[in-house]
C-alpha cells in the first residue's frame, strides 16, 4: 500500500499551515496514533518507560514514525499522521508542556512563542 501524502498542500488543506485530520492523515497515522492511544493504560505507560523501543515495536510504525517518536519531534509526528490528542499521551508519560509542543510546530523559541504567538505577558 503506498504511503498517503500527508503534506498539507498535497492533501488539499485550504490553510497550508493548518493540517486537518482528514482521510489521508488518518490512514498514514493509524499505527502511530494507536501506539500513543495505548499509553492511556498504566501497564503500557510502564512498558513505554521501561523500554520505549520495544513498546514501539509492538505497533507497525514506519521507521520515520519511530524515529520521530524517539526524538520527541512533535512537528514530524504530526506530519506523519499523528493527531495531537494522541501524541499528547506521550507528553503525559514524558512530561512536555503543550506550549512547548506548540512552539516546536511553529518553529519558534518557547518564550518567543508565548509572547508573540499567544500574546502572553511574561513577568520577570
Amino acid at each position: 500500500m503506498p504511503t498517503p501524502s500527508v503534506n498539507s498542500r498535497a492533501s488539499g488543506d485550504r490553510l497550508p499551515e493548518t493540517p486537518l485530520f482528514d482521510r489521508n492523515r488518518a490512514l498514514a497515522g493509524y499505527a502511530l496514533n494507536k501506539m500513543a492511544n495505548g499509553l492511556s493504560k498504566p501497564a503500557n505507560r510502564q512498558a513505554f518507560t521501561d523500554d520505549e523501543a520495544a513498546y514501539l515495536d509492538r505497533f507497525a510504525l514506519t521507521p520515520e514514525q519511530k524515529t520521530a517518536v524517539i526524538a520527541r519531534d512533535w512537528n514530524e509526528m504530526m506530519r506523519l499522521g499523528g493527531n495531537l490528542f494522541y501524541m499528547l499521551k506521550i507528553s503525559a508519560v514524558d512530561p512536555v508542556a503543550m506550549t512547548r509542543i506548540g512552539a516546536a510546530q511553529a518553529g519558534m523559541e518557547h518564550d518567543d512563542f508565548l509572547r508573540r504567538r499567544l500574546g502572553k505577558t511574561i513577568n520577570g
Binding site: T18, R45, F85, G107, L118, G119
Partner: protein
C-alpha cells in the same frame, strides 16, 4: 413537562483541570480566569437545574480511531471520569439521567438523528472541566448529566447547520419529557485555538469576543459559516465551537445574555463562557 432553564457555553481546556488539581486556582495567573466563572456558579445555585445536557467532543479517550461516532448519546446510570494518560483524577462519577436519556434517544431517532447509544461510557475533560467550572468540586455532583458527544477530531466533522438542527430537536425532546425537572444545556469547546501545524498558537481575540457577544442575539451569522470558515477564524481546534450551536439551537429564538467572560491565553486557547436565558414573552 420538563423545562429548559438556560444554556451556558464554556471552554473545556484540559489545563484548567490540571490547574485545579495542582491547587493553582488562586494564583495570580489563574485567579482572573476562575473568578470570571463565579457568576455562573451563582447562577447554578440560584436556578438549581436537575439535569445538565452536556455537548462535548471526546479527545481520543473514550473512542479510538477504530470507531468514531459522529454523534453519540450516553444512557448510563453513571459515567466515570477517564484516565487520559496522566493518571486517574480524584473526581466523583457523574450520575446519569438514564430514563430521560433514553427518551432523548427515542426523540432524536424519531426526528432523523441517529446517534451511537452508549450504555457504558467514561468521560474526558470535555465534560469534566465544564462541570468543575460550574459546580466546583462537590462530593456528589448536584445535577444528573446526559453526555452528547460530537466528533470534532476526524474529518468529516458535522456541519454547523446540523448542530443547530440537533439543538432544535433536543428542545422538543426535552420539553416533551413528562416531569417537572429543570434542564440546563451546556455547549462546550473553543474558543479560538490551534494545536497542530505551523499556525499552532493561533488565537483570535476579536473573533472570540464577537462570538460571546453575538451567539445569543445573532446565531444566524454563525450558522452561515462553513466548517472551513470556523477553522480559518477560530483555528483548527477552535472549530469545536460548532457544539455551542447545539446549545443555542435548543433555546428560544430570542434569548438574554446574562453574563459573559473571556480570558486569553489559557494554555494555548482563548477561553470564554456565556450564560443565556430564554427571553420571557413580552419582556
Amino acid at each position: 413537562m420538563a423545562e429548559i432553564i438556560g444554556g451556558l457555553g464554556t471552554s473545556h481546556v484540559p489545563s484548567i483541570a490540571a490547574a485545579i488539581d495542582k491547587g493553582l486556582a488562586d494564583t495570580a495567573e489563574w485567579k482572573p480566569f476562575f473568578d470570571g466563572y463565579l457568576p455562573a456558579r451563582q447562577w447554578m445555585l440560584d436556578h438549581k437545574p436537575d439535569i445538565a445536557v452536556v455537548i462535548f467532543n471526546d479527545h481520543g479517550n473514550a473512542f479510538f480511531l477504530d470507531k468514531i461516532p459522529t454523534l453519540a448519546v450516553g444512557v448510563a446510570d453513571s459515567y466515570p471520569p477517564i484516565d487520559e494518560g496522566w493518571g486517574p483524577r480524584a473526581l466523583p462519577d457523574f450520575a446519569g439521567a438514564r430514563d430521560f436519556s433514553w427518551h432523548l434517544v427515542d426523540q432524536l431517532v424519531e426526528n432523523h438523528f441517529d446517534p451511537l447509544v452508549c450504555r457504558e461510557l467514561e468521560v474526558d475533560h470535555g465534560l469534566q472541566v465544564p462541570m468543575e467550572l460550574f459546580f466546583g468540586r462537590p462530593e456528589v455532583w448536584p445535577v444528573q448529566v446526559v453526555p452528547i458527544l460530537v466528533n470534532t477530531i476526524q474529518y468529516p466533522i458535522p456541519t454547523p447547520q446540523r448542530m443547530w438542527d440537533l439543538g432544535r430537536v433536543l428542545r422538543g425532546a426535552i420539553e416533551s419529557w413528562a416531569t417537572h425537572e429543570k434542564v440546563v444545556i451546556l455547549g462546550t469547546g473553543g474558543l479560538s485555538h490551534q494545536l497542530q501545524g505551523s499556525r499552532a498558537g493561533f488565537i483570535n481575540r476579536q473573533a472570540d469576543r464577537a462570538w460571546l457577544a453575538e451567539i445569543g442575539p445573532h446565531p444566524d451569522k454563525y450558522l452561515a459559516m462553513s466548517r472551513e470558515d470556523y477553522v480559518e477564524v477560530f483555528g483548527s481546534e477552535g472549530a469545536e465551537l460548532i457544539m455551542w450551536l447545539v446549545m443555542r439551537g435548543a433555546l428560544s429564538e430570542t434569548v438574554r445574555t446574562v453574563h459573559s467572560h473571556y480570558c486569553a491565553p489559557v494554555s494555548m486557547t482563548g477561553a470564554g463562557m456565556v450564560i443565556l436565558e430564554n427571553a420571557v414573552a413580552g419582556s
